[in-house]
Symmetry: C2
Subunit: 345 residues, 2 copies
Amino acid sequence: MRNLKKLVGAFSGRYDYLVLTKGPNLAYAVGMPDALGLVVDLRSGYSILYVSRLDYSRAKATTAVDKVVAVASAEIPPRRPGEELVVAPSILEALKSVVRERVASDNKEVGVDVSGEVAELRAAKEEWEVELIKAALRVTESVYVKLGQMRLVGMRERDVAGLVYRWFMEEGADGVAFDPIVASGPNGAYPHYRFGDRRIEYGDYVVVDIGAKKGVYCSDMTRTFAPGRFGVLKDAMYAVYEAVKAAEKAAREGVAAAEVDKAARDVIAEYGFAQYFIHSTGHGVGVEVHEPPRLFVTSKDVLKKGHVVTIEPGVYIEGVGGVRIEDMVYIDGGAAVLNRVPHIL
Amino acid sequence: MRNLKKLVGAFSGRYDYLVLTKGPNLAYAVGMPDALGLVVDLRSGYSILYVSRLDYSRAKATTAVDKVVAVASAEIPPRRPGEELVVAPSILEALKSVVRERVASDNKEVGVDVSGEVAELRAAKEEWEVELIKAALRVTESVYVKLGQMRLVGMRERDVAGLVYRWFMEEGADGVAFDPIVASGPNGAYPHYRFGDRRIEYGDYVVVDIGAKKGVYCSDMTRTFAPGRFGVLKDAMYAVYEAVKAAEKAAREGVAAAEVDKAARDVIAEYGFAQYFIHSTGHGVGVEVHEPPRLFVTSKDVLKKGHVVTIEPGVYIEGVGGVRIEDMVYIDGGAAVLNRVPHIL
């Protein structure tokens, strides 16, 4: 609701209506990613949320919009007393009929794309949003603490993933921000590997990249467990650790996101691993686990107050394995690291 | 790979190139939902898969395409020996440059939307696809068997969800088809409720809707646990049970999907619950958990050999709770029910 007011404040005076149809924007505006569409009359602030018929009563109970309207392709079953229902072949047709009807009568321009501006609003988090992200991160960190106390050697990657899921739910997560990555030994060379049947061996580096949700807000964190802590990746571990520290030092309000990427990349290069750092240094996190700003060499983003971004350099060597360490930082003047768990477990 | 050949067979002779960019279609064609795009020269069968740079080596290792090309916004780090890299601002630009270059020289028409035809191909499952769906369903059913042996009373919904996730992974799931629904008591009135802090009480009806994945294939199944099995929903349970049986009897090759919906809806209506059955009777399941055909009154789909669809009538009463039973059936002449676990646990 607070975000809905923020959206109205940002767009009123410039447009008559705001129409949102993308899941993450609907999550942001009204907390319901599976709604179909939102129409806000920016002159009055009056909001109408469109949902599937089976979500009608849930939308009424859990969102704070002025009106909920169900959309269905037929009036079967017959509508119940008080149920607002639009019969339309699709949500787009339902939205168009409402918006066009009104806009046509005013003789105004239709269809200015404001998705970029919505993304910018979403990127600058309010304090209460940061608190939710921190709560999601606390749940995530509690799992790392538990994993750190276990002997992972002998477990299958999928067993570790199963524990992560279970502990998330037990600790109060409202869902997962993304499916867990538990990449052991050579599997660690694939940054987006998920998990499989491989048993963790002594000497493996095990990349664990997980994130819980609180409300609709995500967390995102990586630690690399190294039961033996030796072999070729030992140097990579130090390189990545130093790169994280350098990027966190470089990150602050007003700094180009590309600069933060460079800070991490330079350290990795000093250690001789430049060509093995094959992704960006980080990204924004909010109602989506990947959202602006992007911390990469080609990024034109500038870090601003309220940004919550990951710092996650990594080294990936095919046939050998990988190392990644990922923190979350909050930009408010400097960069406050939101993580409490050590970088090397 | 078998699906890629099927796609080539379906489109060659009619078009020169097939371009796929949607996650589910990429999962179907090459088993990699997080690839960015696939271009197939339909005259030669030669296939090029575009991926993010961090997925390049995983794509090389896990897909059977002729060529993998990485897309990045800059050549940083420098490409490694043998690495195919396109520097482009977006995947669309990368795809366009390849396709247009070729097509322009042939002076042919560009951009026929074949997504409907691809959806039809995907809907008609081959035997090996049905086997994967069945394997995913076996994992799912093993969880119902375990839950059926437990005393759910006193557990929080989120504790049940945590067990579901953990057991899925331990039993060999490659992921979840969707986040678990554990809706107890009044929460059962929301068909798409997820899970929360509520403790299950004696007398509750608890709707548990879950599905594991095997490879990229989904399963989808619901049972309603009723520790007390009394109250107003007792009749609803019988209504839903009878509706499932009626729909499964009606489902067969050549029958309109709307007819199957009607068979379930008529039973629910006989029991006096017509207005509480607020969604369709079922949907196709494959690489997506919801895909064509759709089993609803307005559906124009006809059941065909190879379709795998859910049968899932439900009754939802606000303030009271809900009942849903969901099976999966395979159309091959008649409808073979793929589930083995009883309807009422």
